[in-house]
Subunit: 340 residues, 4 copies
Amino acid sequence: MINIAIIGYGYWGPNLLRNFNANSNCNVKYLVDGREDRLKIAKNQYPNIETVTNIESIIEDSNLHAVVIATPVFTHFELAKLAIEHGKHVLIEKPMTSNSKEAQLLIEIAEKKGLLLMVDHTFLYTGAVQKIKQFINKNEIGNLQYFDSTRINLGLVQSDVNVLWDLAPHDLSILFYLHNEKPISVQATGVSHTRNGIENIAYLTINYQSNFIAHFNCSWSSPVKLRNILIGGDQKMILFNDIEPAEKIKIYDTGFQIKNDEDKHRLLIDYRVGDIFVPKIDQKEALQSMAEDFAQGILNKVTPISNAHKALEVVKVLEAAQISIKNNGKEVKLDSLWSL
Amino acid sequence: MINIAIIGYGYWGPNLLRNFNANSNCNVKYLVDGREDRLKIAKNQYPNIETVTNIESIIEDSNLHAVVIATPVFTHFELAKLAIEHGKHVLIEKPMTSNSKEAQLLIEIAEKKGLLLMVDHTFLYTGAVQKIKQFINKNEIGNLQYFDSTRINLGLVQSDVNVLWDLAPHDLSILFYLHNEKPISVQATGVSHTRNGIENIAYLTINYQSNFIAHFNCSWSSPVKLRNILIGGDQKMILFNDIEPAEKIKIYDTGFQIKNDEDKHRLLIDYRVGDIFVPKIDQKEALQSMAEDFAQGILNKVTPISNAHKALEVVKVLEAAQISIKNNGKEVKLDSLWSL
Amino acid sequence: MINIAIIGYGYWGPNLLRNFNANSNCNVKYLVDGREDRLKIAKNQYPNIETVTNIESIIEDSNLHAVVIATPVFTHFELAKLAIEHGKHVLIEKPMTSNSKEAQLLIEIAEKKGLLLMVDHTFLYTGAVQKIKQFINKNEIGNLQYFDSTRINLGLVQSDVNVLWDLAPHDLSILFYLHNEKPISVQATGVSHTRNGIENIAYLTINYQSNFIAHFNCSWSSPVKLRNILIGGDQKMILFNDIEPAEKIKIYDTGFQIKNDEDKHRLLIDYRVGDIFVPKIDQKEALQSMAEDFAQGILNKVTPISNAHKALEVVKVLEAAQISIKNNGKEVKLDSLWSL
Amino acid sequence: MINIAIIGYGYWGPNLLRNFNANSNCNVKYLVDGREDRLKIAKNQYPNIETVTNIESIIEDSNLHAVVIATPVFTHFELAKLAIEHGKHVLIEKPMTSNSKEAQLLIEIAEKKGLLLMVDHTFLYTGAVQKIKQFINKNEIGNLQYFDSTRINLGLVQSDVNVLWDLAPHDLSILFYLHNEKPISVQATGVSHTRNGIENIAYLTINYQSNFIAHFNCSWSSPVKLRNILIGGDQKMILFNDIEPAEKIKIYDTGFQIKNDEDKHRLLIDYRVGDIFVPKIDQKEALQSMAEDFAQGILNKVTPISNAHKALEVVKVLEAAQISIKNNGKEVKLDSLWSL
């Protein structure tokens, strides 16, 4: 049985508590939050959990095996470092840290200590993303050509991070899970309609050595809610529409074949438009699978789906995008960050 | 009565012929196309029109008042120049020319001669765009904040122009019609999945002095057809979904107000979500209005909606986008082209 | 403070408990259910509520003012009768009773005792139905011409009541709330695909003295979930699509005017197709308003929206529909039941 | 080569003319219409066709092999009878005749003469219906359980036939093409909102010996356009949504299995919800296939898909529905008409 402390009982904390509490390999021993009223609410529903207001009072407990961090991003690094240094396995809410240097440091010290460091990119555990991964693994889609994400809605403008840091981690984690090629550079543009200069609309392109391209359209200022990802292969194409209740994934038997371009003025591409397949999606709660993946990572040394290396890639792209936005969209090579 | 010659009877020519033929101020005197078989088809349906295989044989006709050019883009400049030099008013299919220098030259010589030079950006004459323009003019939308267009589909890859030159003119002409601010610079990225290096997917951002931003997502390689434009104001927002048969335009009574940001950690924006209004759209064929606008421009010296200056702006952005794509998305100032 | 006992803690009971518990005029004193395990679950979450396994043990409590009945339909009559006879106000889950005779008897004895008898047709308290009622009251819709409901889905075939008794009460209660005319007769047809002969698909028509008509399409066997109600007036028409998250109600400025039919072979109707209006809907939980309506009915003798007389009409139509189905769809006059 | 005369050049005539003109087995020799202006329009486009104002002047032509009748319904019988008596094959627009007696008479005399009598139920030749038929034939759907059609829109109220005669023939012909069981009886209700008493809204149920049921919801008075047919089998279910441009047919791998009903209070049906398949639909114009089916019926004595016996069934149901509506929805046995 893995004894766990959950730190932070804000928006996401209750979901983590509920799912780790239900996991048969885990025992939530502590809940940590500076706000007494939040602790009280939790205590009411889970009377057996010990609630404390600071991590220091429990971090020395040798019977505590793992720490789950669901606090604001800027606190992730210090909390995770403290936990790892005390020999605890660590799960961090996405995004992993405020910058890639911190993320890399955490990975290094966790690896030295032989501890699991994982990041909760919950989306990877949804039935929809798992189903897409299956189709790609079975090579039904062919060579991936593009990844095009739109995640827009009326959203709460935040005071510390822009819309990319808020929304893009979902799509970036999905991209890196589905497509293994190492990205080369990013370009981002955005605009802020508030005085504090935090972008509420932003566009991000990720460039690759091959002719694969990834693009992200993120906005807190759209009157309509869209959550689309298009994934194009040369055999088939996928539409992942997360808003659709019954038809989240559509696999289009639509591809294109490049023909000889002898005649410059004739079509170069031969399109094939065929059937559409809408697979049934597993309805299991994603967080339940995430919690189990964390437990298995600890118990059986299995590399989790949402591992720290993938999460670092997400942070790197966000960091590079930030630099690009502040430099009028100039291309930022990821290698320049990679070397940190 | 304005005597007209239509040059080019390919994809769009028949629509132009049908609409100019039906216009009470215009008389289609000549149809010009090098392909005898195309001329024969037209002659069958319109026995009174004189068909010829080259423009030279008719351009000296002093009874010919105007020329409508519906040939491939790379021929626009020479044909239009010839016609203007012979004292004819000219309507050119979009995009106006292959580069902004040519477009500017045409404008100059047409103005010197006192002739009308107009470009057929048909979309501006649709009931939908006209309705949006009315709402903006009535100041119902407030200050415009963004313009976000998605125009993707399975499309025929062309041998001479990329997807931006093919699809973006529609959205660019709409943008410049609805929002008067002068754009500062553009950034574009794209990818080609064919050997000839012509981009089939491209993303374009247009930057402004104010915090207005415009973004365009164009693709010939999407399994789904999307034709969305989101126009955000600080009072209301508009969704123009051109695929919807009955609800093309939705006006969202959704706005945001910037509040004092005294407390950095509280919300800075106050959203208001209200009713949605779906106005009835005029169903009149857009080309019919376009033809009449051309006639009125000649007869009454009215500046047409789709005038050459706006069309030049479209060409400039396309040209700058091309430069940006070939330079890995670097920012291209429009002033650098403006000075040509 | 109204002391309440809730009887039945199955599917709906927890929602009733939560909402009455949150109502400032009500105090849930008792929870009654024969199943100890269900009581235990409730006790865990609401430690202050007294849980008992039978109604007899609490019905004599003079400090108990009202009883909420959420048990299977066939038990409603006996439980409600018992409660009324002991001087308790009563709220019954829909449908009120298994037949109209029972419903009428309950109304009679409750009126004699001066007690409130109300039925929980929750749908009437949704923001959507309230908004529709407002539009009708403001006379924007004109004279109502038809009510056409489709409520189909994959549903659990029940062992005691058919699909009409399960699904139609929602739509019938909405119809009777929005349109005051007294129905004359019903016709129903249906089919059972199970051995027990319980209809899983059924169609119901309600006839009126005027040329108003109401039709209901109910199915447990549809692969798609539809929840549409069309309400046609001679001025405007309403589409209530309960599945739409953001656009539940659309008001179509579409009407028809009857023209002189002098010429039998010309159109007799002049259609007007105009704008569509999608009003913002109040998001407040309907059950919260229902609980408050029950409380106000007791405290201030206000006739509740979902009153027993309207609920009786629902039962009468269901009963008549049952007779019609079993008689191959023959017309059943409601007066024949009315006289019971 | 089959020489054809087309009678009636109103709404549908031009489509028939265009398709028969393009058919390589047919030669449109005559066009017949009493209105000179209609003939002139046709003559302009098809100069080789002989136009005449009455059928008598050509019916004796022994070189005329077949007659296509596209005139108002009430004229079908006399025209078809005349043509058959002169030894011509006959194609009639749907619905075949105004009543089943006439339809039966035409069938009898055509069979005596050994001539082809066919009715143009165009919908049967659409790629969508053909695809559905294939799935049913391959036994993928299992035993059919229900057919539920909704065909509503704003429509022009007609002066001579009600909404069932106008809209239901499409759905009835599809039903009889897909499901072979002989219907037993019909019930119909409807309402007229015009002075001439012609129903603009009507509901029709068709009953069968088995537990199959068919239902039709037809309206000229809906603000939204719906064209849905649900076809339920015990293995899979089909949704045919004719308004969807790209996903007209969805095959739901959703079925239900009847389980032992030993325990009356447990579920009797076991639902299986699976993948959805959206087959590609053949885009060929349906009328083209219909014309070819008529030609093949003449040349090779192949029974056409849209044959007169099926068309007679459609007329019988319409006739019975009419009787039912006028008798307050009472059940009308089809055998009572059959015996005519």
